[in-house]
């Protein structure tokens, strides 16, 4: 026992040391850095051959063929090398498990096989806690984020796990060391999980019904009669509620309060005070006070925001069959910005490309596993990603949540490209598309002037087996490898 404890301690301290080593280089001063003669996958536009990329203050200052290297710039000669935007992981549970120490036992199942996203279908009951912030369940102090950054993940999601409405997902800065440093946006998206069961479908249906009602309530004109009616307790109670709705819905966006308990109390005090002010005027109010004061369900409010387009969602769906079931639970006219996330090709329930026409109606992007699929019970390969792309649907790839899986992503992309997916689509699918889904596409995901300098520098083409990832830059700072 004591032996094991000391071992653990040793390893923990070693890990801690490693984490420290991973820290990004000293913050860039005003001195610009210029990459010259590079092949640049801008993703936003054409690939630039022999281009120059200038970064300054963590941002991309200039990119192009004829860009002049500014005086005093630190020059990185990138002849024969390729630069692409940093990877964006739109589905990741890294950090949701406590750091496990098992480096002294060999992993079984090969690289990247250890953690499989298993939150599909059957597991457990369906939750309806849309307003819970997943980041509050994160184990911040662990080396995984640094390890992911080293292999090229410059932005990553923290995805709430489970079906139904497991909570609000976050966007993390992988260089962070604490919760606050890690968190870039602690409510970046609403995670929704489809579960093919009566209970699961009911939760979806009920919550969206409630959200629709909440939206109707919000969109009601704030009734000009309101001030006149105020003295009357009952009718005033309802419209009076309309106002606070807006507030609590927006408040969490600034996102300082803790999740579960907090949102409830916040909306409560507001109406209370306003009513208390009115109360003295009317002695008859106290008994009537209770019904209108029914606190808003923050979970419903979050979904109402979603329906109003103030939030975006990542909708996890396991298969084509599940998508059809979703449509029987939630009407297609319930519209909200979404990306559909499929974590495993499930040919026994239909791969997601079998319902392409429905996906097109949703006008959403689709996050796919970076792999080919097979027809059921055969070895006949199918290419869902290509099929969706050919149908005009934007595709992204789930790049995995372990460093080993991320290292493999380029090999997976290679296979998909060899099977017919255009290379630029493959690159876009791990950068710009997931960035859009996380709402960070204005800041990162492409190489454009003004965006964060989140860059990967490869010795050759990223999609070539000999292209090696040599450098990772996060917001203008070179990420030092711990090795």
């Amino acid at each position: 026992m004591s032996m094991r404890n000391t071992n653990t301690l040793l390893i923990l301290s070693a890990l801690a040391a490693l984490t420290c080593a991973t820290t990004t280089a000293t913050a860039q001063s005003a001195r610009p850095t210029a990459f010259t003669n590079a092949r640049i996958h801008t993703v936003s536009g054409e690939t630039i051959e022999n281009g120059t990329l200038v970064i300054k203050n963590g941002k991309i200052e200039a990119v192009g063929k004829d860009v002049v290297v500014p005086a005093g710039a630190k020059v990185v000669d990138a002849t024969g090398k390729t630069i692409m935007p940093g990877l964006v992981s739109a589905w990741s549970a890294a950090g949701l498990r406590p750091p496990t120490v098992r480096s002294n036992t060999p992993q079984r199942g090969g690289r990247g096989r250890r953690f499989r996203p298993t939150s599909r279908g059957s597991s457990g009951s369906t939750s309806s806690k849309a307003a819970t912030k997943v980041i509050d369940g994160m184990y911040a102090r662990q080396p995984i984020f640094g390890q992911l950054l080293e292999v090229g993940v410059t932005s990553l999601a923290l995805t709430p796990q489970g079906s139904g409405f497991p909570g609000l997902g976050a966007v993390l800065n992988p260089a962070g060391k604490s919760r606050d440093e890690l968190s870039l946006n602690d409510e970046a998206f609403v995670q929704i999980g489809m579960q093919r069961s009566a209970g699961g479908k009911k939760v979806l249906k009920d919550m969206f019904e409630k959200a629709k009602k909440a939206v109707e309530e919000r969109e009601k004109p704030p009734a000009p009669k309101e001030p006149a009616k105020k003295p009357e307790a009952k009718p005033a109670g309802k419209p009076a509620e309309v106002k606070p709705t807006g507030k609590p819905a927006e408040k969490p966006k600034d996102g300082k309060e803790p999740p579960k308990p907090a949102p409830k109390p916040t909306p409560k005090p507001a109406p209370k005070e306003s009513e208390k002010k009115q109360d003295p005027k009317k002695p008859a109010t106290p008994p009537k006070k209770t019904p209108p004061k029914k606190p808003k369900d923050p979970n419903v409010e979050v979904l109402a925001d979603l329906l109003q387009g103030k939030r975006r969602a990542i909708l996890q769906i396991a298969s084509a069959a599940d998508l059809l079931h979703w449509r029987t639970a939630v009407d297609d006219d319930v519209k909200f910005p979404r990306m559909v996330a499929v974590l495993r090709h499930d040919s026994n329930s239909g791969t997601i490309d079998m319902v392409t026409e429905h996906l097109k109606k949703w006008e959403c992007s689709v996050l796919l596993p970076p792999s080919l699929s097979t027809l059921p019970r055969t070895q006949h390969l199918t290419h869902p990603a290509k099929k969706l792309h050919d149908a005009g649907i934007e595709i992204g790839f789930a790049i995995g949540e372990s460093p080993a899986a991320v290292r493999n992503i380029f090999f997976s992309l290679m296979e998909l490209v060899r099977s017919g997916l255009p290379a630029d689509v493959a690159i876009k699918a791990v950068t710009q598309v997931p960035a859009k889904a996380l709402g960070i596409d204005k800041r990162t995901g492409t190489i454009e002037v003004g965006k964060d300098a989140d860059l990967l520098l490869f010795s050759g083409d990223p999609l070539s087996p000999v292209g090696k990832l040599e450098q990772v830059w996060l917001r203008g700072s070179r990420v030092e490898s711990k090795k």
Binding site: A198, A321, L324, T328, L375
Partner: protein, 459 residues
């Protein structure tokens, strides 16, 4: 050469004569069954605003499933229903035409008990069906378009949770035809269970009588109380109201490890048990469905007298008791004998030794189980009339599941679940060329990897 001739239908079928013995069928008058599926209906109404989509299957020899055959006829499908059947039909403009010249057209096969093929394991089935399950295609390739999934028996009391599933590939809402159109009980019942059943049937009947009389009573006396529904009687009432069919199975005799080895439910189905099943049917006053009564061939008239139907597994064998070989054991002629007595018969496959108990693609026996015409071939070999044999896997099977008003035959107004075959529907080497479910083509032999490489042997 001998074997094929056994199966090929005689040309005499061209006559539209009804089947002999049918007049003796009692107890279940053709009922204007209330459709249990409420959910899909409103959707269809919404869609009605759109012009109907017409499909016509032209020129095939159409087995209507009622016993009739029309040569070179046309089946016109409007959306998901059969619009018209006949010769020289006028086709609306824009009709999609499927050529069936030189082929046969038959109602989709209806299987009284199945598993897999996209059905979930428990109710509510509509929330768990998998419309992209691979075995749906396998089932369609075998001609199956509907089957009953779930449990139908419950020991000691009426129970069961099941649904009639359609093999509507890719269509979640089209897959569940009805939920719980069958309730079951297994015999023998012990004395207390029997007494309890008798009391609850009586209470349910009284309740129904009282309910019927209630509006009149209320008119006289506005204070009259509405009759109270006896608790736990829903399933009994649904049988009494013809909303569900009662299935009676055998095997309530406790755990029997050898049951599977003996070929399933037949082990307890001696004459005494079958008589008990008949008694229960008479308690209800409704024809029941007796599941796999191995000795039914001994008392066909008694079964017929109750208006009951029977599910037979013609492939199942049970050795006779050596002490009384003349009056025990299975009989290959069971289906024929029962049919002759006027009992509607449906066929199913034997229970698998390692599970099964229904037509499906699961289990160690694999895919060969889901070929309904092969199962019915055994009954034909035992003397079952060809027309009745087809009914045993179409209309009679549908009636047995309580969905005879929706599926089982090619008649105007019914669901468009239709097979186009390259030969006699009952012939063992016949392949399904095209399967249509709810008016949509869901299987084409030439396009699926299953059997496209096999040509039908010519004789």
């Amino acid at each position: 050469m001998r074997t094929p001739t056994l199966f090929v239908l005689s040309l005499a079928l061209l006559t539209a004569l009804d089947l002999p013995g049918q007049g003796r069928r009692r107890g279940r008058p053709t009922r204007a069954t209330p459709t249990p599926t409420a959910a899909p209906e409103p959707k269809q109404e919404e869609k009605k605003k759109e012009p109907k989509k017409y499909t016509a299957i032209v020129g095939g020899d159409v087995y209507l499933g009622t016993g009739q055959r029309l040569t070179g006829a046309t089946v016109l499908i409007a959306d998901d229903k059969i619009d018209k059947v006949g010769h020289n039909l006028e086709l609306p403009e824009g009709t999609t035409i499927i050529d069936a010249k030189g082929k046969t057209v038959s109602p989709g096969f209806v299987i009284v008990k199945g598993a897999g093929m996209g059905a979930g394991f428990s109710a509510p089935f509509k929330d768990t069906v998998n419309p992209f399950a691979f075995d749906i295609k396998q089932g369609l390739a075998a001609g199956i378009t509907s089957f009953l999934a779930g449990s139908t028996s419950s020991r000691g009391r009426i129970g069961g949770s099941n649904a009639v599933i359609k093999l509507a590939y890719g269509d979640v809402e089209g897959m569940v035809l009805s939920e719980n159109s069958v309730v079951g009980i297994s015999v023998p019942l012990d004395r207390s269970a029997r007494e309890k059943l008798e009391t609850s049937i009586k209470a349910a009947k009284d309740y129904l009588v009282a309910t019927e009389a209630y509006p009149a009573a209320k008119a006289k006396d506005p204070k009259a109380k509405a009759p109270k529904k006896p608790s736990g009687s829903d399933q009994i009432i649904s049988v009494l109201q013809d909303k569900a069919r009662l299935w009676i199975s055998f095997g309530g005799g406790g755990f029997n490890p050898f049951r599977g080895m003996m070929g399933g439910g037949g082990s307890n189905s001696d004459v005494a048990s079958i008589r008990e099943a008949c008694e229960i049917a008479e308690l209800f006053g409704k024809g029941a469905v007796i599941e796999k009564p191995m000795n039914a061939w001994l008392i066909p008239d008694e079964i017929a007298a109750t208006g009951s139907s029977v599910i037979i597994s013609p492939r199942t064998r049970q050795a006779p008791d050596p002490k009384d070989p003349e009056r025990t054991g299975s009989n290959i002629a069971t289906a024929a004998i029962l049919a002759k007595a006027g009992v509607p018969v449906a066929v199913t496959c034997p229970d698998g030794r390692f599970g099964g108990g229904g037509v499906g693609t699961n289990g160690i026996l694999g895919q060969d189980l889901n070929t309904p015409n092969v199962d019915v071939a055994y009954a034909i070999r035992g003397g079952l009339d060809d027309r009745k044999a087809l009914r045993a896997i179409t209309l009679d099977a549908a009636n047995i599941m309580g969905v005879g008003d929706r599926v089982g035959s090619i008649e105007a107004g019914k669901d468009a679940d239709i097979l186009i075959l390259d030969g006699d529907p009952l012939h063992y080497s016949t392949f399904v060329i095209t399967a249509v479910v709810n008016g949509k083509v869901v299987y084409e032999k030439a396009k699926e990897a299953l059997y496209r490489h096999i040509a039908r042997p010519k004789y």
